[in-house]
C-alpha cells in the first residue's frame, strides 16, 4: 500500500492507504477525525466538505493519494485554543443546526464563502453558494443568518 503524508489541521500526518482510498476515509478511519461526515454516495450533499490548500472541496470525491503534500483543514482544526471559530459560534447562537449531521460541511463551506466574498456577503450569495450543502432539518433560514452574522466577525 502506498505511503502518503500531508498536513492536517497544521500537523504533519502520514499513513498507508490503497490508491482507491478517498480522502474522507483517510481522515475518518486512519486519523480518527470523525467530524467530517459522509451523507451521500453521489457527491451531492456537501457533508464531507474540508479545505484543501485553502479551498472548500468534497473529501468524498478526492483521492487520498492525490493529496500527497497538501494542507488539509477539517472541522476539528478551526477552533483556536479552545475558543470556537466565529462561524461555529454563530451557528450556535443562531440555532443554525438541529441534528448536526450537515453542520461540519456547512461550516467549512461557509468559511470558504466568507473568505471569497468578504464581510458584506449578501444573503443571495450565501444561499446560492450553499446550494450544494444539503440540510434535512433546519430549512436553511438560521444557517443563512449564522453565516451573515459570522461574516461580520471574521
Amino acid at each position: 500500500m502506498p505511503a502518503i503524508s500531508m498536513k492536517v489541521n497544521g500537523k504533519a500526518v502520514s499513513g498507508n492507504v490503497e490508491n482507491r482510498t478517498l480522502l474522507v476515509d483517510f481522515i475518518r478511519t486512519n486519523l480518527g477525525l470523525t467530524g467530517t461526515h459522509v451523507g451521500c454516495d453521489t457527491s451531492q450533499c456537501g457533508a464531507c466538505v474540508v479545505h484543501i490548500d485553502g479551498k472548500a472541496v468534497k473529501s468524498c470525491t478526492t483521492l487520498a493519494v492525490a493529496c500527497e503534500g497538501a494542507s488539509v483543514t477539517t472541522i476539528e482544526g478551526i477552533a483556536k485554543n479552545g475558543t470556537l471559530h466565529p462561524m461555529q459560534q454563530a451557528f450556535h447562537e443562531n440555532h443554525g443546526l438541529q441534528c448536526g449531521f450537515c453542520t461540519p460541511g456547512m461550516i467549512m463551506a461557509s468559511i470558504d464563502i466568507v473568505k471569497r466574498n468578504g464581510k458584506k456577503v449578501s444573503e443571495e450569495v450565501i444561499r446560492r453558494e450553499l446550494s450544494q450543502n444539503i440540510c434535512r432539518c433546519t430549512g436553511y433560514h438560521n444557517i443563512v443568518a449564522a453565516v451573515q452574522s459570522a461574516a461580520e466577525k471574521m
Binding site: 502506498p2 490508491n19 482507491r20 468534497k58 478526492t62 492525490a66 464563502i113 446550494s131 450544494q132
Partner: protein, 265 residues
C-alpha cells in the same frame, strides 16, 4: 470502488505513454465525473493517470480575437477571471453556474468537454461560440467534436490541452438547472460574431449538445427577441425523464433563447 494503479505524471507526453501502457486506464483531472462514476460501479479503470501535476496545464490567456483556456483549468478559475469576464462575460457566467462551489474548485474544462455529458454546460459554450478544441495531436472544431451522448471525436489516449473561444460581439448564457443535481435541465448559449452571424447552442435537451438553425438564421437577420416570434423547437428526439417531458424541454429552449437574446452583451 475497485482498486487501480495511480500515476501522477509531470508532462503530457508521459501521461499519454502511461495510458498507452495500461490495460484499461483513464485520465483524471478534477475527478468530479470519474470518481462518482467509479463509486457507482459504472467504471473500473486499471490505472488512473492524474493530469493535475502536469506543468502549465491550467491557465487562461486572452488574445486579440480569442480566449484560450488550458485543459486543466478549473471552473472556478474561469468563473472568477477578470479577463474572461471582460472578454466573454457569458463564458465566465456559465462556468460560475456549474454545480456548486466545491465542484467548481475541482472540475476542469478538459474533463467536462471530454465527458460530453448531455446535460453539461461547457459543451454549449464550445458550440455556441464556435470554439476550437486543441489536443496533444490536433485541433478539432467544436462542430465536429461532440459526436453523441458521452461521445466525442477524441481518439484513445488523446488529451485536451486547450480550448480556444473566439471573442464574439455579444453573447449570453441561460440555464434552467435541475434543482437537485444542478446540471442543466436545459441550457442555451447564444452568440453574435463581429460579422453579425449568430450561433444558438442547446444543452440538456437532447442526447448531445446541438445548434438550432432556424433560430440562428432569424437572429442573423435581426438580433432581437422579436426575430424569434413563431420559431419553436421541436420536441421530437428530445430527452424525457422524471424531471421533464420532451415537450417541456422544447418549451424551455424557446423561453431561454428569448431571455438569452434579451440579455446578450
Amino acid at each position: 470502488m475497485e482498486n487501480f494503479n495511480y500515476h501522477r505524471p509531470a508532462t503530457v507526453n508521459a501521461a499519454a505513454a502511461l495510458l498507452k501502457k495500461s490495460k484499461g486506464g483513464s485520465y483524471m483531472a478534477g475527478g468530479h465525473t470519474l470518481l462518482p462514476t467509479m463509486k457507482q460501479g459504472l467504471a473500473s479503470p486499471s490505472d488512473i493517470i492524474d493530469l493535475t501535476a502536469i506543468k502549465g496545464f491550467s491557465g487562461i490567456t486572452i488574445g486579440k480575437s480569442a480566449v484560450v483556456v488550458k485543459g486543466g483549468t478549473t471552473h472556478m478559475e474561469v468563473a472568477t477571471s477578470a479577463a474572461v469576464k471582460k472578454a466573454i462575460p457569458a463564458l465566465a457566467e456559465l462556468a460560475g453556474k456549474i454545480g456548486g462551489v466545491h465542484v467548481r474548485h475541482k472540475g476542469t474544462i478538459g474533463g467536462s468537454i471530454a465527458n460530453s455529458d448531455p446535460a453539461a454546460d461547457y459543451p454549449s459554450a464550445c458550440l455556441g461560440l464556435g470554439a476550437t478544441i486543441v489536443t496533444n495531436k490536433r485541433k478539432i472544431p467544436a462542430d465536429a467534436f461532440f459526436t453523441g451522448m458521452f461521445q466525442t471525436a477524441l481518439k484513445d489516449g488523446e488529451i485536451i490541452t486547450e480550448v480556444s473561444f473566439p471573442i464574439p460581439k455579444k453573447s449570453s448564457h441561460m440555464k434552467f438547472p435541475n434543482p437537485a443535481s444542478r446540471y442543466a435541465l436545459v441550457g442555451v448559449f447564444v452568440s453574435q460574431d463581429a460579422g453579425g452571424k449568430v450561433r444558438v447552442a442547446v444543452t440538456g435537451a437532447g442526447p448531445k449538445v446541438f445548434r438550432v438553425p432556424d433560430m440562428e438564421a432569424a437572429l442573423s437577420k435581426s438580433f432581437a427577441v422579436s426575430a424569434l416570434a413563431g420559431i419553436s423547437a421541436k420536441a421530437k428526439g428530445l430527452n424525457a425523464d422524471m424531471h421533464a417531458t420532451a415537450e417541456y424541454r422544447a418549451h424551455l429552449i424557446g423561453v431561454l433563447a428569448r431571455r438569452a437574446v434579451e440579455a446578450a452583451k
